[in-house]
């Protein structure tokens, strides 16, 4: 692809001044606002994680009090889940790229999109306000289980309201994307000609719209219970704490797929581009996203196998949990089949995509162990669970998020990063990540409970390995971010299509003009990933 020498105004220069950012209706600018906010909260959450690992370096008190520790792991969970992982890929890359890959100039409701962003900001302020006001941040864990969440003196009300507001932000983003996908595809692009990232966002959006309200009302009930001193979930006044757990997981399990599906969508974009080959099993990947979203609704009970549940119910939830593995593995096999006999170019985004598959495999398979009734009873609420969901969320979605950042970086900023540094940072990050979390799986099997401030001496060495891993991980992440920040400011100019991608976002300029396209985008003939001929990179 040649770099178009004709001058044009990109969306950064199209309007000027701080207000043109704060009140922008442009999906690209809103995406960048999200990006800066979300990365900041990721760094806050990561710092809290580092603090926890430091405290766990050896048994007994190291640096913080037990109560502080409880508050830190709660805040870490709330920030990482509600402020980082759930909005990360949809709100940043979904916002920036969905209109581009569909060949349109914005989402269906630009004003609603801005409202979503400000709800996100408001929710974030509520979450962080607990640091300053009231009796400190919640110490309940991010799940806010009743009756403790009703009785604790810490500022649960604000944290819960934060989650409620962030839920609204998430619902409105999902609603916006569904309508965008239905109504704004470029003429001639049917559902089955959409890039797979939009399929993933489509499935995600449905979960956001249909699951989030349930947690909204549940959290409102917790607030009412705390504020008015009346209760639905506190057993001392006839309430049922198990009912709270059901209501909570009716949302929060599907929410796991809000976090995972967009990541799978990113991987489905990166792999065909770097294999320069059409995706294997387009429809299988597209529909498996919908299948995961659908089955994902009916598996919430597997969080409660030890909470008190009838035998038949537990068996049904267990079987349904295993069913989710089928569409997930369909995706993995299709990605691998896409790579097979492809003209593979190993570049940073592909490395992240491959790391996603590797980490997600560990996360997914340990998930099956947790979904099995007999095994779950032993490892429930141990470090095994912590290891498992960090492999899925951080090792999976987190790596896909940074993969997406490296893949679309030249499109967003119009510049290219230093690939050597990017690859080095990736290697440090991946190695550190595995040193950080793999010991947790072993600790869990050995019986170390999660959320404990202290542990028995025999767990010391594995905990120390894990803590050292956290330092390596954070080194990798900092190196990666510095590399990207330098590149965004001073990197060399990137061509419009540096990876020889074929989806529509690569047909426009880098960075795109305000209206995204200055001529009609052309849909590739014979499917969204139909590469006309294998292409040789020039490096």
């Amino acid at each position: 692809m040649t770099v178009d020498a004709l001058p044009y105004t990109d969306f950064y220069k199209a309007k000027k001044g701080i207000w043109s950012w704060l009140f922008t209706l442009d999906h690209k600018r809103i995406a960048l606002l999200y990006l800066y906010a979300i990365i900041s909260f990721f760094l806050v959450g990561a710092t809290l994680g580092i603090l926890m690992r430091l405290e766990l370096f050896q048994p007994g008190k190291d640096i913080i009090e037990p109560q502080t520790y409880n508050q830190i792991f709660t805040l870490h969970g709330v920030i990482m889940i509600f402020l980082f992982i759930i909005p990360s890929i949809p709100a940043i890359f979904g916002n920036f790229l969905l209109p581009l890959i569909l060949g349109t100039d914005d989402v269906a409701f630009p004003k609603l999109n801005l409202l979503s962003f400000y709800l996100y900001v408001l929710g974030a302020l509520f979450a962080l306000s607990t640091l300053i006001f009231g009796d400190g941040p919640a110490d309940t864990g991010w799940t806010f289980y009743a009756p403790y969440s009703v009785k604790t003196g810490t500022n649960v009300t604000m944290s819960v309201l934060a989650a409620f507001i962030l839920g609204f932000s998430s619902i409105l983003t999902g609603l916006n994307f569904i309508v965008t996908i239905h109504r704004l595809r470029t003429p001639g692009m049917g559902f089955n000609q959409m890039p797979l990232f939009s399929w993933a966002l489509y499935a995600t959006s449905w979960i956001q719209v249909l699951a989030t309200p349930v947690i909204g009302i549940t959290l409102l009930m917790i607030v009412a219970e705390r504020v008015f001193g009346i209760g639905l979930f506190d057993p001392s006044i006839g309430g049922d704490p198990i009912l709270y757990q059901h209501l909570f997981w009716i949302y929060s399990h599907p929410a796991v797929y809000i976090m995972a599906l967009p990541a799978m969508g990113v991987v489905s974009e990166i792999i065909p581009t770097f294999a320069q080959r059409t995706i294997f099993g387009y429809k299988a990947i597209a529909y498996s996203s919908m299948a995961i979203a659908f089955i994902g609704y009916f598996v919430w009970g597997h969080h409660m196998f030890t909470s008190g549940m009838s035998g038949p119910a537990a068996i049904i939830f267990s079987i349904l949990t295993f069913l989710v593995a089928i569409p997930t593995s369909i995706k993995v096999f299709n990605w691998l089949a896409t790579l097979y006999k492809g003209s593979i170019v190993i570049d940073t985004p592909l490395l992240y995509a491959l790391a996603f598959i590797f980490n997600f495999l560990i996360g997914g398979l340990t998930g099956l162990l947790l979904g099995a009734l007999a095994a779950d009873v032993h490892v429930h609420d141990t470090y095994f669970v912590v290891g498992h969901f960090h492999y899925v969320m951080f090792g999976g979605t987190g790596f896909a998020f940074f993969g997406a950042l490296h893949y679309w970086f030249p499109k967003i900023w119009g510049r290219m990063y230093n690939k050597k540094v990017a690859n080095t940072a990736f290697a440090i990050f991946l190695i550190g990540f595995n040193i950080l979390y793999f010991p947790m799986l072993i600790l869990g099997i050995m019986g170390m409970p999660r959320r404990y401030y202290d542990y028995l001496p025999e767990f010391t060495s594995l905990n120390q390995i894990s803590t050292v891993g956290s330092w390596i991980t954070v080194t990798g992440i900092i190196l990666m971010l510095i590399n990207l920040i330098v590149a965004a400011r001073k990197g060399e100019k990137a061509p419009d299509n540096p990876w020889n991608g074929i989806t529509l976002e690569w047909q426009t300029k880098s960075p795109p003009p305000l209206e995204n396209f200055d001529k009609m985008p052309q849909i590739p003939e014979g499917g969204p990933y139909n590469f006309p001929n294998a292409y040789k990179h020039k490096h």
Partner: protein, 207 residues
């Protein structure tokens, strides 16, 4: 470079189908919001059926019935106002919307007296008498206030929504050709009505 190029499928175009689809999606979220409460109601009704029955006798069925009739009628007037607008009769449409708002206010006034009576009898969570009630009745009144309160909030939001449509019709942004805002307000109002259609038997009628 052609700077006058515009995509035919622009997100900044007005698209009636988009706004209607968006409204339906929003209504799904509303249904699920109340769905969570209905689920809680179902569980506690099952666990405390005696107490729920006794507590339900403390509600005023006549006031509830009056409000039900009021809301169903208002659903009719809002539907008529949309048809009137589509047929070009703006004045009739606006009048019918005002009628809907009057019905909404009437509903809230009746609700005020109903709730007021509960306060007098000390049936409100947090009051002294409430704390002496059996567990099941306490749950009943907690749910009663939570659910009808949330519904009342929706009545207010719905009425404000209709006010915006009236303003739109008067300003000429909502017209017989471009009536999706009025349709959306109607959809929302029907949801408010529909939720009440379920709340009424659940709290007042089931024996």
């Amino acid at each position: 470079m052609d700077h006058t190029f515009h995509l035919p499928n622009s997100g900044h175009n007005f698209d009636a189908k988009s706004s209607k689809l968006g409204m339906w999606l929003f209504l799904y979220t509303e249904l699920l919001l109340f769905g969570g409460l209905f689920l809680v109601y179902m569980v506690y009704r099952e666990l405390n059926s005696e107490a729920f029955l006794l507590a339900s006798f403390k509600l005023n069925v006549w006031m509830g019935t009056f409000n039900t009739v009021l809301l169903i009628t208002s659903s009719m007037t809002i539907a008529m106002s949309i048809t009137a607008l589509q047929k070009g009769n703006k004045k009739l449409s606006v009048n019918l919307m005002w009628l809907t708002i009057i019905a909404a206010l009437g509903f809230l006034v009746v609700k005020y007296f109903e709730w007021g009576a509960k306060f007098e009898h000390g049936l409100v969570p947090g009051m002294e008498h409430y704390d002496t009630l059996p567990m099941g009745e306490r749950l009943y009144f907690y749910l009663y206030f939570f659910m009808t309160g949330l519904h009342g909030l929706h009545v207010i939001i719905g009425a404000i929504f209709i006010l915006f449509v009236i303003r739109g019709v008067n300003k000429g942004t909502v017209t017989p050709e471009r009536y999706s805002l009025s349709e959306n307000a109607g959809l929302y109002w029907h949801l408010v009505d529909l939720v009440w259609i379920y709340l009424f038997p659940l709290f007042y009628l089931i024996h």
